[in-house]
Symmetry: C2
């Protein structure tokens, strides 16, 4: 592939990981990245913290600048450049950048077009209002913060959607002195992360932090007054506020993929093989726009998470650069922190496992983060799910006011990756020290509870 | 086994776990525990925190009291009761308790005799001095604290031995206002936990905390003056202080095992099979007195850690109670916290792996505990070791001022338990959120570094 031209569409995590890895392996590649915004390698996940002024400048969210990609990594990064058209047979692209349109030929194309927010498509009027914003678009981070800071302390903000970005936004708006109401369509908060019983504990915590929580309230529309949004209309009534932040989830951005005629998978995201190749030769796709495999179910899954996107980029870049790598899939680990509460999950819930045809058993328990005699012990709520027939681990959920919650879930994630069992988890030799965990760690106690249903002696596969 | 009598010698973690589990499975068992001290289920690991007054009362270190074991679990706990003689052929024991000697018959015997400190055997005069103490004996916790509190602030204390208990003792004596000198025989601190280069970072940290560190100074003896210890004699000269705390490591307490003629293993601890049975029928052994298998090397290993002891007790108790369970072994995970620094390790170091006949490769890196733009980010030093021929993970070490250090090591421990590879670790889907970890977690970066030596594509076994 010496001297070949690689065109990467999208300069987010996955796109830049692909570009960097390919160029690193094969210095002779001509790698161009076309990015519609003014940023590459931008940490979208940090946006709520920019709103809350934890992060001072938007630039702080950039780990490597476009200029550094150019000068240090030899990658031709083009900012403010959109891809208007792609032609797979002629291998060309028409870009529109600051200097107008340009046609570019490519040998290898990488779609890293990411995901986009659903809200503006549903309610285009929000774009005009000035006091209503949707999450997950870069420039609006700046607008949300400016608007929130322009309001008097104690002004009211509504956040629609209690996914992780919504909850992080709630925290940051509270930290700016606003009174926040969280509106969720479903009858529980954090529906993608937690079972209803654990979600209730999170909700109680949010209320203790002064957040008003309104559940079972799908948003029907917005009432405007003098061009500004005055209230959000929900099944649970209208809710007035001074500003509105709407997160209705995201969807894969497959516009260019459709234009090229790429196969999409059952999840609606771009179908790729283990080497991150699409259905068209020499066209790769990575990141939030593609579908991968859930290693627990073996089925296609859309997992728009930054750590997955980065690994996909590493794998695609390795293959483009002349190496060989496969991306086996992921297990759906996600986590967030809201105030001091950490929530994490991996794999399947019991309900999901049932739907997938497993015969799941579950252990649900409460444990402590440290030895009982060490001050600062936090409560941890943990659920473990395993297959009742084989003892294979299927998933876990946890919450508690300690970052170790995520890491307990990560231990399970590691075992899910390798098809580990309940017995593997019980006998995982987790280190112990009184200020760090109890000698019977909640994770091991959970495994013990599952073992009691399955029998202490490991079953042979 | 209905109505049979089970005699457990030793009421520590392993002994009480065995007793509780056996009785829980089979209520008809007559379970007696003979404990030489006045405590059962006592958290020895908490002793340094008792010294530092983090834990107020010794009672706080007991999770379940002897009285609760009797009344709630139906276990006949005998405190202040030593086992003088054991007869395996007649299945009897002679106990000496508060009411004198008593002969007891047993059907099943469990040795949970634990480990003991080496120091008093070497220097019996320390017992008399009044200002010199050895670690890892329960009653001396009280003495150390009383003595430390009787000294004026700024008085000097010497701690001999930089294992985890020694280091925890250092922290707690500093918190009591003493000026502490740490004396280590080997040329590095924490020699069992860390490679020399990582140990150096720990040493720098200790010095920043005001601890004087003297390495390469094996202790030759003590100088007494008026019955009190005045200084410790080392190869690096005499070191004077007002009090001395000596931890020279521990050894398995196998006195009764030898009396019974039980087979010991190559490590000097009691040999048991996977069901925790010794070489004599109906005699089990658990906890710090026994040898287990290192799951990484497949060889016998002595792993005197509380979490291992508890699991051994659970397994032995299950088998005694009529169930079936096996203890497969452990991977040698250990951890400690000193001030805010957390140190953890699992499996083998590169040097150990070489000795074991592997062809190890190593990744050594520095990473951050959070996204670069979130305040409070801590530095993490991490080493990963893998087999260069197969890609199998062999071990890891880490330190940093965050409890997540332990949990990163625990993720590796989980993979070591299941024979996971470098590729398994790279593709372990660890959750990501900016306040909790960087999107390229140090753990995944470490796996990536190893993958670069091995090739990105997993090798077939």
């Amino acid at each position: 592939m010496e001297g070949k031209r690689v065109l990467v569409v999208g300069g987010g995590a996955a796109g830049m990981a692909t570009a960097s890895r390919a160029k690193r392996l094969n210095k002779k590649l001509n790698v161009t990245v076309a990015e519609a915004s003014g940023w590459v390698s931008f940490a979208f996940c940090g946006l709520p913290y920019y709103v809350g002024c934890v992060v001072k400048r938007l630039d702080d969210l950039v780990q490597i600048t476009a200029e550094e990609f150019r000068s240090k990594r030899g990658i031709d990064v083009r900012l403010h450049t959109r891809v208007l058209r792609l032609d797979a047979s002629g291998r060309t692209a028409v870009l529109e950048g600051p200097n107008g349109e340009e046609e570019l030929s490519w040998d290898v194309l990488v779609l890293a077009t990411g995901a986009r927010s659903r809200a503006p498509k549903i309610w285009p009027e929000l774009r005009e209002a000035g006091n209503a914003f949707y999450i997950k678009h870069l420039d609006t981070g700046e607008e949300i913060r400016r608007h929130a800071l322009s309001l008097r302390e104690g002004s009211r903000a509504v956040v629609v959607g209690s996914g992780y970005v919504g909850l992080e936004m709630v925290e940051n708006l509270v930290e700016l002195g606003l009174r926040v109401t969280l509106v969720e369509a479903l009858p529980q908060v954090a529906p993608r992360a937690l079972d209803p019983d654990l979600a209730e504990k999170l909700e109680t915590y949010l209320r203790e932090k002064g957040v008003e929580v309104i559940k079972g309230a799908p948003v029907k529309g917005f009432k405007l007054d003098g061009g500004k949004v005055k209230s959000v209309e929900t099944d649970a009534g209208d809710i007035e506020a001074d500003m509105f932040v709407v997160g209705l989830g995201i969807e894969p951005n497959t516009d260019l993929a459709r234009q090229l005629g790429l196969e999409l998978g059952p999840t609606g995201a771009i179908r790729v093989d283990e080497r991150m190749r699409t259905s068209l030769e020499n066209v790769y796709a990575v990141g939030d726009a593609v579908e991968t495999r859930n290693l627990v179910t073996g089925k296609p899954a859309w997992m728009p998470f930054a750590q997955v996107a980065n690994k996909m980029g590493y794998v695609a870049g390795t293959n483009i650069g002349g190496g060989k790598a496969v991306f086996p899939g992921a297990v759906g680990t996600s986590t967030f922190k809201v105030f001091d509460m950490v929530v994490a999950r991996t794999g399947l819930s019991k309900q999901e496992a049932e739907k997938e045809g497993f015969n799941p058993i579950e252990a649900s328990l409460e444990g402590g983060s440290r030895a009982h005699y060490i001050p600062g012990r936090k409560r941890i709520h943990l659920k473990l799910v395993a297959d009742g027939d084989t003892g294979r681990l299927l998933g876990a959920q946890a919450l508690g006011e300690t970052e170790s919650v995520l890491w307990r879930i990560n231990v399970v994630a590691g075992l899910l990756t390798t098809g580990g069992t309940v017995w593997d988890l019980f006998f995982t030799d987790v280190g112990y020290a009184p200020p760090l965990n109890p000698v019977w760690d909640p994770l091991i106690v959970g495994a013990r509870l599952l073992m009691r249903s399955l029998g202490e002696e490991p079953r042979k596969a």
